[in-house]
Symmetry: C2
């Protein structure tokens, strides 16, 4: 019998217990595919006494996850603790420092410290892998770094947060408002008690920054992702968008911007209008999907379960199998030192069609003031819908779609209107992606 | 500078010239991702004098592709000649026999001789890779054999032939009939002069048999794919399906069937009814898409360009980059000797909802005869649409959807009706897949 690959699991929550269950359930199949068995040598979490629904008695227990890295009977450490710093980062550094491979599901840690860890892993000659960190069970890291490796990719975007997509598609199906659907999602366990990371787009931004680095071969710049969440999207926006032929989705969108002659990195998480005939318009519920456009392959789409114990464990164990097979590829598809440093793009000169929604008091002159500001800023309006007064707030919803033009013009129009009595609420701008 | 990977290209048609163009255009990027340059050492095709739109003067030319395998300056042979046997197979055997890696886009050859070649490649210790053979630019071989490696997959299906999907979605958009759209597709170069392989489902069957082997870890059984093409689908079927909430797609469908206690291999290429809310219902034009269902990852979808010079070259060069990186994985995700021999499944005991379309003469008693046959065979009818007489043929189109039940009952009903005066044309049965 060939030598097993010995692994240690840190973190036994949703993902960690999923990994234990998967490795036990599919042990025989994994050994055939990995060409050697995967053996769990030791596990660690905070509370040894907690019932986790899996039998851990046959694995060694360590109270301190850092101790896993020091064990001589461990080849690969699997980090499923979470958090960008703290014990997860200490463990990751420790494991690589001791010459162990590292597999992690931790997007926050990779978004903040991925380059440092990749460089350390290269120096130590060990694998660093994080398929589960982006889009859960979808093998998109592998798809881009290996499957699409022959392509210059200039654009990668997608639905990267299942909680937001669940909320938006439920709002769409039921006509209910954001706060209402969020509260229900929390009761049902689809959203965290503190939903900030999800609904404010930070989780999607972590994932987008990782995807962009891999797709473009650029240095990871989480700090440069412009991030807006979905908390300001109203049921009325969804209704207006639908009547114009769109659905609303929170997209992470990243492109190489070459408008000023050098390659700059554009990264934005923002709710977008997606036309009905675009594949992302049909991605509902907690599903994730990623689109990448390459100069030879054209448009490629990956879609599947973005979170949950089973799908996330599937991605974690795929990484472990790769390591068992002897794969030692660079974490970001090329050596860390070869990733290109790109400055963030100026978004002002980007051209797009935009949706702008105003909530305005129902009195004369408001429409004239808004349209004058648009004219003065050079924004050309393609269509406009005004919806009758809201019974509760007395506001009128005014939604317009612009012709294609520089985003800076829209910003300028809103600057002109800033502080105006005509605006009951700060306007909401969403970009429209083309089919 | 590290040593380049030296490759030889056999076949310089659509795919071969695409590969030359890709390797030249993205050379610098490929070297960063592969961590060494890819160098074309020699090329071969039939006609040396043909203008192929790419400059081949800097590459050695061989009149006989078999000579590529014998060159000492070649590490990997890339077979893009085509055909299940003949020069392609001779070259593949020759290259592996001489200890070269083999990359091929040839689904016919892999469907017929993939196991033999995989076994030879293992013995020789060389890589055999064929990402481009299935679904063109979509990295679905890698997605299943590596990305989904941790899962027991019990079902894999998809849209595997772009020509058929183009024809069906054009029929859908325009209301025109099969022959008409096919003729136009041929004029426009979307379909071959001899379209048999595409429209009769043979090309899709090649791909399905390869996917099934990889997904299930089963021995490849192209001979056991039940294959029906799209030539009998009428515009009226598309219209009826739409009114029932479905589109028609040619699907390759493969499952492990455990109804009699042992794992049996079910493989079928057939036009199916796909409900509007299924992701495959939105795959239009020449696009391909593959769905795989795993016991931990859930449902995963890959979608993209299934053919054409750029996408296919993207997949060929991804394989070459993998080899350059030192990857030497088993061709079918596990050693050839470990693939499980599965007998073909009996399709009779499969349960599904079916669409059955009759074209019948417009006279009394016909409906009674058909419904009696259904009753006698135990087929339960869920809904039925009758469409007025066809002006040209005088036929009435009668479409019914059954409740879920054994497919054998539908077969039996049609057997009872066989030879009946009530049938102007042999009825067309299509399975309905669930959302
Ligand atoms: N959940 C998903 O669907 C999903 C999807 C993709 C990626 N991820 C990522 O996977 C990671 C884990 O997520 P999760 O949902 O599994 O989290 P979780 O359910 O909260 O589990 C976290 C685990 O880490 C342990 N832990 C926390 N602090 C620790 C410490 N200081 N020392 C030792 N152990 C500690 C916890 O121990 P106790 O159980 O003893 O408290 C728990 O077992 C995160 O990085 C997350 O972003 C999750
Ligand atoms: N086209 C696609 O989109 C696509 C997609 C996926 C997979 N594939 C597969 O890729 C392979 C190639 O397809 P293709 O579309 O590129 O075919 P193609 O355009 O017909 O090109 C075939 C090439 O092979 C050469 N050839 C044929 N017989 C030969 C012989 N006896 N000796 C030497 N060379 C010979 C031809 O030489 P001459 O040019 O000198 O005649 C031509 O260059 C096939 O296996 C196909 O199934 C194609």
């Amino acid at each position: 019998m060939v030598e097993p690959l010995n692994i240690a699991l840190a973190g036994l929550g949703t993902v960690g217990t999923g990994v234990v269950r998967l490795i036990e359930t599919n042990a025989e199949l994994i050994a055939r595919r990995a060409r050697r068995p995967i053996r769990i040598a030791a596990v660690s979490a905070r509370d040894r006494t907690k019932d986790r629904g899996v039998d851990l008695s046959r694995y060694d227990w360590e109270d301190d996850p850092a101790a896993l890295a020091a064990r001589s009977d461990v080849d690969v450490v699997v980090e499923m603790v979470g958090g960008s710093d703290g014990p997860a980062l200490a463990l990751a550094r420790g494991a690589i420092g001791k010459g162990k491979g590292l597999v992690t599901a931790n997007k926050a840690m990779i978004a903040h410290h991925g380059l440092e860890l990749a460089s350390a892993a290269e120096k130590a000659g060990v694998a660093l892998k994080f398929e589960a960190a982006v889009a859960g069970g979808i093998p998109v890291i592998k798809g881009l770094s290996e499957g699409a490796a022959a392509n210059a990719i200039e654009r990668v975007y997608g639905i990267l947060n299942g909680t937001c997509n669940y909320i938006l598609s439920t709002m769409e199906d039921t006509g209910r408002d954001f706060g209402d659907v969020l509260a229900e999602a929390q009761r049902m366990g689809y959203a965290e008690a503190d939903p900030t990371f999800d609904v404010e787009g930070i989780d999607a931004a972590h994932k987008l920054s990782i995807l962009a680095a891999i797709a473009f071969g650029s240095r990871l710049r989480f700090d440069a992702v412009e991030t807006t969440g979905i908390s300001r999207v109203k049921a009325a926006d969804i209704e207006q968008a639908r009547s114009l032929g769109y659905v609303i989705r929170l997209l992470g969108m990243s492109e190489i911007d070459r408008t000023d002659g050098t390659a700059r990195l554009f990264q934005r998480v923002h709710p977008h209008l997606v036309p009905f005939d675009h594949p992302l318009a049909h991605v509902d519920g907690a599903t994730n999907a990623v689109v990448a456009e390459g100069n030879f392959m054209g448009r490629l789409l990956f879609q599947g379960a973005g979170a949950g114990d089973g799908p996330t464990a599937s991605a974690v164990v795929a990484d472990i199998i790769d390591i068992a097979r002897g794969e030692k590829g660079a974490a970001f598809s090329m050596p860390e030192g070869e990733l290109e440093a790109m400055e963030p793009a100026e978004t002002g000169h980007r051209r797009s069609r935009s949706y702008i929604r105003f909530a305005v008091p129902d009195r004369p002159g408001v429409l004239a003031e808004i349209t004058a500001a648009m004219r003065d800023a050079g924004v050309s309006i393609a269509s406009m819908i005004q919806k009758g007064e809201d019974a509760q707030t007395g506001e009128v919803i005014l939604a317009m779609v612009t012709h294609e033009g520089p985003e800076s013009a829209v910003t300028e129009a809103l600057r002109i209107l800033d502080g105006s009595q005509s605006l009951a609420v700060r306007p909401l701008v969403m970009q429209i992606i083309e089919g």
